[in-house]
Each structure stands twice: as C-alpha cells, then as structure tokens.
Symmetry: C2
Subunit: 488 residues, 2 copies
C-alpha cells in the first residue's frame, strides 16, 4: 500500500504561495462557521518520526483562531492511565462542540507500538482496531468531523533527516533511542501501519496518506483536506428517520412479568443484611487486591428506593475504594460533549467501585421521553451503550445493572407519604408529580432499554421493589454473587 | 505538644451507642442543610500509620448520603503532577458547593514527607506552610468549612498494631517498607508533626488532635467535630462591609497617564514583527528545554485588539507547546467552585505556555461591575490573585500581564466599522454596546486592578492600543524581553 504513494510529489513555490493564501482565508471562515454550527472537529496526525508533523501542524493552524483549537501531544499511557479502559484518556480530551481537538499522535500510536513491541500479528490486534472503529463511529454519529492524516516518508529520507537533526546541537535531542530503534524497524512498522490503515479506514473516518517529502506539498494537501472536511460537515444534512419506532406494535415486556408481590420477613431481612454486608466487605478487599473494577448502575422510577438500597450497599465498604455518582441533567461542558463523555470521566480505576444513581441510560429514558434526544439518537444509543459497556468489561470491570421496579399504586402511596411527612418533604418535588403523568411511556422506554441492553457480560437485574427490604436484599445478594463469580 | 494528649481516652460501650445514634441522626440532617445552603465541606485526615483512618472514615460516613461526598486518597505526587505548582492537584479535587470532599491524607502529607526525607528544618518549610495557610484561607473566605483531624497513637501502640496486621495474611501487605521506616523514625516525624500543627492551625482552619487508641472514642470525637463544624457554618453570618470603597475619593490613575498617540511606521512594523517572532520561536524552544512555564494574560476593553495581538504572538510557536484559553462567564461545575478553580485547572505545565484571553481578573472587573461578586469578595480578590500568581512564579513560571488600552473614541470607531462590514459583523454584539455604557466605571475598576496587582514578579504592562500595530510590537517585545531575562 505505502509503496504506491508518490513520494516525489511537490508544488512550485509560486503555486504554493497562491494556494496557501486562498486556503488560509477559506479555513479562517470555515472555522468560524463550524464554531457557530457547534460541530466538534478532530484532526489527528500520525506518521514516521521526522516526517514533519510539528511543522505541518504549525502551518495549518496559522490562519485559525487559537481560542478554538487545542493541541494534544499523545505520549505512551502512564501507569495511572493503564488502570482504566484504554480509550478513556482520549474521551477525556475530546473537543467541545464547535472547537477543534488536534492530536499529535493519537489512539493509533498505542496500537502500533504495542503491535511491534509485543510482536503481535494482525489478528491479535483485531480487538484494538474494533474498539477504535466503534470510538470513531460514535463520535461521527454525534456530528463530529474526523480527519486522520498519515505523513509518509521513505526510510532513506528519514535517515537523511535524522542526520541533519543530529548535526545541530539544538535539535540533536529529537533523535533518541526510540527513534533510532523505530528507524531500524521501519519495514516491520510499515506492515503494521498498512494493516492499521486498512482496518480503520471507514466511510465516516477515512485515512489520508500524505507524501511528506516536500514541505510545500504536505502543507498544501493537509490544509486542503481540512478545508474539504469542514465544508462537507457544514453541508451535510441528517436524514429523517423513516418511521417512529414508538408507533410499532408492542409485545408483552419483561416488566409486565415482574412479580411485585414478593416480600421478606423481618427476621430474615436482618439476618441476610448482616450476612451479605459482611461478605461484601471481604469481596471489596479482594477486588482491590485483584485489581478488578466494579460498576453498579441503578435505574428506576422516582421513589422506587434506589437511594436506600445504595446506602445499604456502601455501608460495609471502605470509603477509600468506592464512589457514588448521582446523575442529573448535564450542565456546562457536559452539554458541549458527546453524552457518554461525562460517564467516561467517571469510570472507576482498576480495584475501585463506582455506583451510579441513574446513569448513561438517561439517553434512552428521560432524553427519549422529553424529546431531548432525536429518535435517531436514542435508537443509536442502545448500540453505543452496549459498546461502551463492552469496553468496560474488556478492561476487566464487573458490570451490574439494577432496575428497581415498583407499581404505579405503590409510587402514589410513597409520594403521598412524603408529602405529608415534614421530615421527608424535601424528597418530593413538582417534577416528580409531572414525571408520574408519563408513567406508561416511561415503562415502555424501560422495557425497550432492558431488552436492548441486556447482554451476556452486562445483564439487567430487576429488583422487585414494592417491598423495599426485599429489593435491598436482592441487590446485595446479586452484587455478592456477581463479584464472587468474577473473582474466583 | 503531642505528649500532652491523653492517649487513654475511651468511651463506655453503652454511652458510645447512644451518642453515635444521636450523632448519626444529626449528621444526616446537617448534611442535607449544608447541601441546600451550598456550603462546600473539606474534611482531612492525617495521622500515624495504623492509627485507624480508614475505619474512622467508614464509621463517620455511615449516616451520610453517599451521593454528596467523595473520598480522595492522596498519594505522593506523580512525575506529571510535579510539573505543576504543588497545590494544583488539590485545587482540582475540591468539592463543589454543597458537597463534601474527604481527604485521606492531604496537602500536609507532602510537607511532612519532604521535611523528613530531605532532613529539612522548620525554617526551610516556611514557604510550604505559608502556601497551605493561603490555600485554606482562600477556601474559607469563599465559604468552605475545613475540618482537619490528626489521629494520634503512641509508637508503642503502633508497634502493637503492626504486629497484629502482619499476623493476618489478608492484611500483612498494609505494613510495607515505608511503614516500617516511618515507625523507626517516629520521634523525627513527631517533631515535624508538631511544627506543622503549630504553623498551620489558624482561626479558619484549626487542627484537631484526636487520641486514637480507643476506636469508640475516636469515632465519637470525629463525628462530634464534624457536626459542630457544620452547625457553625450554617449559623455563621457574613459581616456587612463598613463602606463601599467605590465611594472613596479617587486620585489620578495609571491609565490616565497612558500616551495613546504612539504609532509605528509600516516598514518598522514589518521588520520588528519578523524579528521578534523569530526570537520568540527560539525562546519557546528554550522554555521547553529548561522546563520553564509561561503564563501570558490579556485584559482590556472590547475591540481593544487582544485577539489580533494573540494571533501574532502564537504564529511562530510550536503548537504542541502552547494553549490559548478564552475566558467567558463560568458554567456548570465552574459555577459551583471557588472562582480560581477553573484557572488552576488551566495552569500550564513546566515547559509550556498558556495565553489567557481574559482571565481570573474577571473577578475584579466584570464580576465587580455587574455585582456578581460582593464588595467583600472582589476586595479580597486582589490579595487572592496576588497569592495565586505568587504560587505560579514560585513554581518556576514566567508571568506576563497585558492591559490593552484604547480611548473611548477609538472603541466607538471600531464598533461602527464592525457594524458596517458584513465580514466583521459577527465580532460585535448587543452586549458590547451595553458594556460601552459603563466605560467610566470600567476604567476605574481597571485602575484599581492594575494598582493592586502589579507586583515585582508579576507587573502589568499597558499596551497603548489606539495603533493596533504599535501594541502588537510592544507585546511581542515585552514577551521576548521577559522570557529572555528569565531564561538567561
């Protein structure tokens, strides 16, 4: 693949000047338009050492307003970063809507380095490639523009450039042991690069291989590519969905079959509570020692008993090892990023527990019901969520998801009790009453959610919550059983 | 000091149960009240190894709603963290308004460890103590509650506990080389702890030394201390300021004496622009090699030419080494933290440049003028800002602050030109016209700001901006001169 690239490609000085002048004006205008349209832009540079990434980057950015771009230098993951799923550190660096995130090296560096260092074959990298494809698709579906550039020079040209750098004391440090080693391994890296480009060139995020022997040529081509990308993003229209899936005929759902009459006797409750809390204390310790993360999600209607269940769950835990994360409507920079961004930020590190009081499932629940997400967006979200959770599990996390279920009558009884008890009055708001009016639509969305996102590694557990204490014990029992199974 | 503490302090079982039951109820209520009042709470635990911090923490949190606290385990700073001012990593972990940040170890660990490891005397730690006092005062002034607990046990008791831990295979890992070493060094640490407590016990953040031999005793005392703190914070009223300093008679200000008639000839502009940009490229490289950070702040009226000046400044720079940070009104989690929090997040690391298009000076400009900050708050801010900047400089940063000054007439001319030029129309908004009406008050605030925050390490430079190009050259010249002086 790479040998077909014309490395002699060049541009005349006069043509270069005129082209760049025109491109600079165009890019400056396009940047403003993209900012106004709220489109996030991701530009990433990969390429051989000494292929001139820094210089190209500098020239590309000249006409742009520096307040609305940010350059990220990607280094190998630190020990701390390695305690999270591999893509987390890139999620955290994604540009806000309307701004540009420019990556000097990127998520591809890791794949390439690991492949060569660990002498892996193409097959062994399939998981990593797939992860990257999913990542880019999710961003692209959310409206992001992704431009991926590979700056290509020959091994001979690289040798020439290294020699020039080493001759200048101010730049000699740029050619270190790593660079020399990669230079020697050029043919091995070449195969790895070709495979990578093949595996991860997609319709939504294709690779552009740029011959980088001539500085003028590479400047022109890169600026043109960015201009074309931005232009295209501004012209793109989202297709209307063909039909509203909410209009489809419904079959009986998993929630219709929940037996809410189940209860637990007082004596049995106390005994089991003690027993499972004791067990959980031990299991948390094992999680820490074995470096397993656990993610526990609570969803369910208002007054279902999520808070009380969570409190019983965390009571035996060492507070240095868990965090409870309440999820409300997104604010500030959460609003100007992909909806999964804030949850990527909250992913627990290896050995730690995170308990989510509501979660990313808001996308297919409240956002669906209130129309904050389009049909296209929340439909797509089922798959995106499964992909997100698969990455957590792949990275070693144990994922437990609870739907706390109660009947409509039980909810009313609890609302009324809160309303009439001054010490509980703070727990109930106007909004709770408004939400209650949408009970049927809410259950429909919940049924869809449970059906679409119950996977082998991350199944839903329904907690029959009309008897709060029954639900609490079932939650504790489930957490103990799942941790136990994963840790043995 | 520590030898006066009664390490035999204990509580009877029956008294313990009753006290804790009452305290649990009270703490649960207080937490809700504090949440509603939007008061941030900081609780930090220091103490000897095996003094039982984890257990105390676990018991203390039992009655609390886990959604509104977060426990931070503080480890020694990483290599990455060491490239920033020392307190940055704690600023980033501060609790949002209404929530609790609980620190297991804290900013004190660093001071203690360094003192003992580097065999420093008390004098040599003065800078570090002062930094911590400033940090806690700034937070306390902003309404935060700070509870600092030191869990004290004797060396003999520690030996006993280490023995018990090592006897149990599940806990033996808790006694490592560091623990053994600190145990041997107990007397040295004791002096260091005593000095630390003396130096950093203040009216707004006193230390509480808690005898920790008896588990029941320490649980009770810690819960009582937290309850007392929260109660006090809820009852505290801010005193009204005695007078409005804006009513004081004014003397002629530094801005009245600015000579706005200065201009630069076309030929000279082009020559100097090239020259200084070339020099700056070299200086950035030196900053990187010598690991010096630079912070450049731009303030000044709308249409003053900040953006154009910044663009000329960054053009020669390697984009991998700088960031331009535009500052607008705070949103989301920025609003629920100390006003300096978002700027602590943006502090550049050693070797990097950060250019702020408006900055923390918003506190004494727009927030003062629009009444978003009380008189007390913006008056205090002058000192807080000087302290913040002193920490940047102490950590090795070069700080350059520009006030781009133009006349009221020049602003009008630029507004009108923007209004009538379709390609510039996006640059002007209704708000710009509204701000213009407050011109005189704005200049008054700017004069105060420049007078109060021009310090030896971080002086203001006024850029005479009626001739944009004159101001641009002066900015470049100033940056080159300051970097040059700091790097030689």
């Amino acid at each position: 693949m790479l040998e077909t690239i014309d490395l002699k490609a060049a541009v005349e000085k006069k043509v270069y000047r005129d082209t760049m002048e025109a491109l600079d004006g165009r890019l400056s205008e396009l940047q403003r338009a993209v900012y106004r349209a709220g489109i996030p832009v991701i530009v990433l540079f990969e390429g051989w050492d000494a292929s001139g990434k820094g210089g190209v980057l500098g020239r590309l950015l000249q006409p742009l307003d520096p307040r609305y771009y940010k350059v990220h230098n990607i280094k190998p993951a630190t020990a701390e970063e390695k305690m999270f799923p591999p893509l987390r550190r890139f999620w955290l660096r994604l540009p806000a809507d309307g701004t540009m995130g420019i990556f000097n090296h990127s998520w591809y560096r890791q794949v390439l380095d690991e492949r060569v260092a660990d002498k892996l074959d193409r097959e062994s990298c399939h998981g990593a490639y797939e992860r990257v494809r999913v990542f880019e698709r999710q961003l692209s579906d959310d409206g992001a523009v992704i431009l991926k550039l590979f700056l290509h020079i020959s091994q001979k040209e690289q040798a020439k450039r290294f020699k020039a750098l080493k001759a200048d004391p101010a730049f000699a440090w740029k050619v270190g042991v790593g660079e020399e080693q990669r230079h020697k391994n050029y043919p091995v890296f070449k195969t790895a690069v070709e495979d990578m480009i093949e595996e991860t060139s997609t319709a939504y995020a294709p690779w552009h291989i740029v011959p980088a022997t001539s500085e003028r040529y590479v400047h022109t081509v890169v600026a043109e590519a960015l201009a074309a990308c931005l232009q295209h993003a501004l012209e793109k229209h989202k297709p209307d969905p063909v039909y509203d899936p909410q209009l489809l005929p419904r079959h009986s759902s998993v929630l219709d079959r929940v037996d809410l009459s189940q209860t637990i006797a007082d004596e049995s409750y106390k005994r089991k509570l003690r027993r499972y809390q004791e067990e959980l204390r031990r299991l948390q310790h094992l999680c820490y020692v074995k470096r397993k993360a656990a993610v526990i999600v609570y969803e369910g209607p208002d007054a279902g008993g999520k808070g009380g269940s969570i409190r019983r769950l965390v009571r035996p835990l060492d507070p240095r090892g868990y965090e409870v994360i309440p999820t409300a409507a997104p604010t500030g920079e959460e609003r100007t990023h992909h909806y999964l961004w804030r949850f990527w930020r909250a992913v627990p590190k290896a050995g730690h527990l995170a308990i989510f009081d509501r979660s990313w499932y808001g996308r297919v629940m409240v956002e669906r019901l209130e129309g904050f997400a389009t049909i296209d967006e929340w439909q797509r979200a089922f798959r995106e969520i499964n992909e997100f959770e698969a990455q957590l599990v792949e990275a070693g996390a144990i994922l437990i998801k609870f739907w706390v279920h109660i009947s409509k009558e039980e909810q009313l009884a609890r609302f009324e009790s809160r309303q009439s008890d001054p010490t509980k009055l703070w727990k109930i708001t106007e909004e709770d009453w408004r939400n209650r009016e949408k009970w049927d639509a809410y259950l429909l969305a919940a049924s869809d959610m449970i059906e679409q996102t119950s996977t082998t590694q991350a199944p839903w557990t329904v907690l029959e919550g009309n008897d709060k204490r029954f639900a609490r014990i079932k939650a504790l029992e489930t957490v103990c059983a799942r941790l136990h199974a994963a840790l043995e």
